[in-house]
């Protein structure tokens, strides 16, 4: 595994599997990761799949160092072993035709799974539009990679890059038409995106990150309240159609 520090608060782990080819992974799925050198954390951490390089047999994880668990990944060195269970959960809906106009909206480190989603879309001949939000310019990650895949629009809360404000205030939402929105980021942002999508009559799916233990639908810790009652985000999600959730939108 190789470790690249993108920013003081973000680390990119590029892991390979020495035992053979990595399993097939879909955009929006996640892995349960553990750093074997982490003495102060107990559970695995659910981390979204940032990118898959089939040729290099690599899977990428973009991690923001916020707590003890994520800091344990930041302490890893190139060459260390990363213990991963993957792939888990269900992915984003891929476009049915190359003509589908898909907007991928990411906030903060929630942009991570959208890179893989965008690359899979482009491979199908469907060019994605990205709307990426961050606190500040330095929190916008992997921008060159996003720009190679599609049109990229940006907001920052402090106005240091793109339009100042939140993603839902960006002018692209007024100027272009979309058939579907897939979003991943902080819950308040996703609620606002879902609210916009609903008012505009656009299909919208969101990727949740409830606290998890098992990752396979056994412990029932990560439940989200849906139209069908409590369901596991790890097994039934992490991607949900906004209509299935009991969000106030």
């Amino acid at each position: 595994m190789s470790v690249e520090r993108l920013h003081e608060r973000y680390v990119l782990l590029r892991a390979t599997n020495p035992a053979g080819p990595l399993p097939e992974m879909r955009p929006g799925q996640f892995a349960q990761l553990r750093a074997d050198l982490a003495p102060n954390t107990f559970l695995r951490r659910p981390i979204s799949i940032n990118f898959v390089d089939v040729t290099a047999n690599e899977v990428w994880f973009l991690i923001q160092t916020v707590g003890e668990g994520s800091r344990s990944f930041a302490r890893l060195q190139t060459g260390d072993m990363l213990n991963a269970v993957l792939p888990l959960g269900n992915g984003f809906t891929l476009p049915a035709t190359s003509a589908e106009r898909v907007l991928l909206v990411g906030g903060g480190v929630g942009t991570a799974p959208l890179l893989y989603m965008g690359s899979q879309m482009l491979a199908m001949g469907c060019r994605p539009t990205f709307l990426l939000g961050a606190r500040s310019k330095g929190d916008l990650l992997q921008m060159e990679a996003f720009q190679r895949l599609g049109d990229v629009f940006v907001t920052t809360e402090d106005g240091t890059a793109g339009e100042r404000g939140f993603v839902t205030q960006h002018s692209v939402l007024r100027e272009r038409q979309f058939d579907r929105i897939s979003t991943c980021g902080p819950k308040p942002m996703m609620v606002a995106v879902a609210r916009f999508a609903k008012s505009a009559g656009i299909a919208c799916e969101v990727s949740l990150e409830n606290m998890m233990a098992c990752g396979v639908g056994a412990c029932l810790c990560c439940v989200e309240d849906t139209q069908e009652g409590h369901v596991c985000v790890c097994k039934e999600g992490p991607v949900f159609n906004m209509e299935d959730l009991k969000w106030q939108i």
């Binding site: 559970l43 269970v85 098992c214 412990c219």
Partner: protein, 292 residues
């Protein structure tokens, strides 16, 4: 009920077994104790239901399940052909509904045993309320024993003053075995938000942090009753499992460790065999309760 090896899975940590079929050969596990089942469907407690702790975790799932009829109609057909002991954990809010739930499972020919959960700390009615007094525990076991004719394991709570008194009470009412410990009641607080972390305020503590408490209680109960004891609480390795066998457990359950390593069950089963070979024991029976 015969076990092919002494390793079982703890209820609520292994789903219905099928969730782990990608990671282990389920038939290499001695017994699979499936998620707690109640007479009526239950939505469980609101999110958040989990908090990580040093060497462990708290949960307050609250027995979310679709009810015994759903289990019999939809889940049982998918697990009945798994060639190991498929055991159902049964919970309730009165002796009568424990007994009714048990009776419906009695009719399923490929379920050789139930584990009676009188020790869930996360439900307001029933659950642990029965498991913290000898009278309450006896009342549930008495009602279930009349309705259930196969192997009856009773899962005991550690949140009591004298676990042996309760173990003796359920033995006297016809329990075939006791399993212990269920989770220890605990709490997590977020200092920044000045709030309790879990939705209902408290939760059950599990993981390696509880192992010393569990070992002590298994040791005591194994000496207080004649029926076999199933030991659980924080087992993360074959060595941990052997410690429980030495303390007096005839079998063990693995719970929280399934979340850390989904293939841990078969590794522990193999590791117990390695221990026996290494120390010249012919069978696991040769070490049960032999700690000095």
């Amino acid at each position: 009920m015969e076990l092919k090896n002494p390793v079982m899975t703890a209820s609520g940590t292994f789903g219905y077994g099928l969730e782990f079929a990608d990671f282990v050969n389920l038939e290499d596990i001695g017994g699979i104790i499936v998620k707690g089942t109640t007479l009526e469907p239950r939505q469980g407690n609101p999110y958040p239901r989990m908090a990580e702790t040093p060497k462990g975790m708290l949960n307050c799932v609250g027995l979310q399940n679709k009810g015994v009829d759903y289990f019999c109609e939809h889940i049982y057909p998918t697990i009945r052909d798994i060639k190991t002991n498929m055991i159902v954990n049964v919970s309730g809010s009165s002796p009568a509904d424990y007994a009714e739930c048990a009776a419906r499972i009695d009719a399923l020919d490929r379920i050789p045993a139930i584990e009676l959960n009188i020790s869930c700390p996360n439900v307001r009615q029933g659950g642990m309320a029965f498991g913290v007094t000898a009278e309450g525990a006896a009342s549930v076991v008495k009602a279930v024993r009349k309705a259930y004719h196969k192997t009856l394991i009773v899962k005991l709570s550690p949140n009591v003053t004298d676990v042996c008194e309760i173990a003796r009470a359920v033995e006297a009412e016809g329990a075939d075995s006791v399993s212990l410990i269920n989770t220890l009641m605990g709490m997590a607080i977020d200092a920044e938000k000045r709030k309790r972390v879990l939705s209902i305020g408290t939760g059950g503590l599990s993981g390696p942090c509880v192992k010393p408490v569990a070992l002590r209680m298994v040791y005591q109960v194994a000496r207080a009753v004649k029926i076999p004891v199933v030991g659980l609480g924080g087992i993360m390795s074959a060595t941990d499992a052997v410690e429980f066998l030495l303390a007096g457990a005839s079998a063990v359950e693995i719970g929280t460790a399934n979340f850390i390593d989904p293939a841990i069950t078969v590794k522990v089963a193999q590791g117990i065999n390695d221990y026996l070979d290494c120390h010249g024991f012919a069978s696991v029976h040769d070490i049960i309760g032999t700690v000095e």
